[in-house]
Symmetry: C2
Subunit: 241 residues, 2 copies
């Protein structure tokens, strides 16, 4: 069994792991970039070198860092393995991936919105309204709202009261954020209007309304992605001729 101080060190290492990951993604460093040495990192995060070493090990196990003997620590991949359970980082054709993802969302999310309309509690409805307002505010003030958008959809999945649904949606939305994000800044008004319609239907426990509002919301996204997809394919055809 780990001693109490063992547990404390683990928690500290995990905190430093998080800070270190944030440091990498915010700069951002890219694959192949070298990290500052242990002394420097220990100073930056105000911890001992052994904690830094532990944090680096954790990020190595998540495929974010690699240590090269005698040379130092390097960034290997910005997406940790555990945030990419579908292994989408290796898909080369990101436009087709975006189409595949939105098609799957179109199959899944209307049914989930329907379940949410049946099952959401009063408290959950209040929280969903807050999330809807946040996205709206950020869109109107031209702020980065993608993470809030993901939170909105993931929370609807939570309202479905189906744990597997919640996990699958979280995986899909994270994939959209990490690997394809083609419609950002394109569907601002459509997002506001359809998010509101989804929220209203769930709040009124109107399953058919929730299903159709969600269908509409994702259809807007699909149409925008389809335009990009078609344009790309026309370009490829022209190159071949």
């Amino acid at each position: 069994m780990a001693s109490f101080s063992g547990i404390k060190n683990t928690l500290l290492a995990e905190q430093v792991e998080e800070q270190l990951y944030e440091y990498i993604t915010k700069l951002p460093l890219k694959a192949g970039d070298k990290l500052p040495n242990e002394f420097k990192l220990a100073e930056m995060f105000g911890v001992g070198r052994s904690t830094v070493r532990e944090a680096v090990k954790l990020l190595v196990s998540r495929n974010v860092l690699e240590t090269r003997r005698g040379s130092g620590t390097y960034v290997k991949d910005l997406v940790p393995t555990d945030l990419d359970p579908l292994n989408l980082r290796n898909v080369e054709d990101k436009v087709t991936l975006a189409m595949n993802l939105v098609d799957l969302r179109l199959i899944l999310e209307p049914g989930i919105a329907e379940l949410a309309a049946y099952n959401a509690t009063d408290e959950e409805i209040e929280h969903l309204k807050d999330l809807c307002d946040t996205v709206e505010y950020k869109i109107e003030h031209d702020l980065y709202y993608i993470q809030d958008d993901i939170d909105f959809h993931t929370y609807i999945a939570r309202c479905s009261k189906n744990k597997v649904v919640e996990q699958i949606i979280s995986i899909l939305e994270t994939a959209v954020l990490m690997f394809v994000n083609l419609t950002h800044r394109r569907l601002r008004q459509e997002t506001i209007i359809t998010h509101r319609a989804i929220t209203k239907s769930i709040a009124e426990h109107d399953p058919v309304g929730a299903r159709s509002a969600m269908t509409m919301h994702i259809s807007y996204n699909r149409a925008a992605i389809k335009e990009i997809y078609d344009a790309r394919n026309r370009e490829l055809e022209n190159q071949e001729q």
Copy 2:
């Protein structure tokens, strides 16, 4: 870059990893059981000790084995982390998990069968018929057919030509196999009839037929799971009184 012999050793270690995992699951060993020592394993698999060590490391990284210093190698968990991306091993209430999984399948798979009916090639249709026949044969001869059932559903997902769909279905079907398998031996005739109907509709490129046959198939499963779920809940209620 790895040298050629480096690559060869990696491949060999991966083969031994597979054999070792099979050895563990077939006996089966359970969490906490001790593995034979390195010498013995090397002899069993006809490889060197360094290859065994490499294979053990791979299974440690997948959470199947753990090495305790000075004591030996022990089984930690029979399900490798990479086969449990939804982290369902930790769900205690397996009956509710089964309901959640079948509800999600009911939302997803009819839409996927529809896509498969649009997109399956002639070659894929032939293969799907073979898979359907295999399940039927095994059911009629009272053989273990769960893996073949999974293959059937995963192949339909592949026919959809949507890579994300394929991965998600593979995750869900594996979860059904690994964590909840409540309807095995209950729905033999229903499985044969509905699998046939799904296969026929996809072969005829009849999307509406494929959707409704899949809905019927999963509905049979849901009804059987619901019976178990209701009986369990009645029992819990009685205990509380």
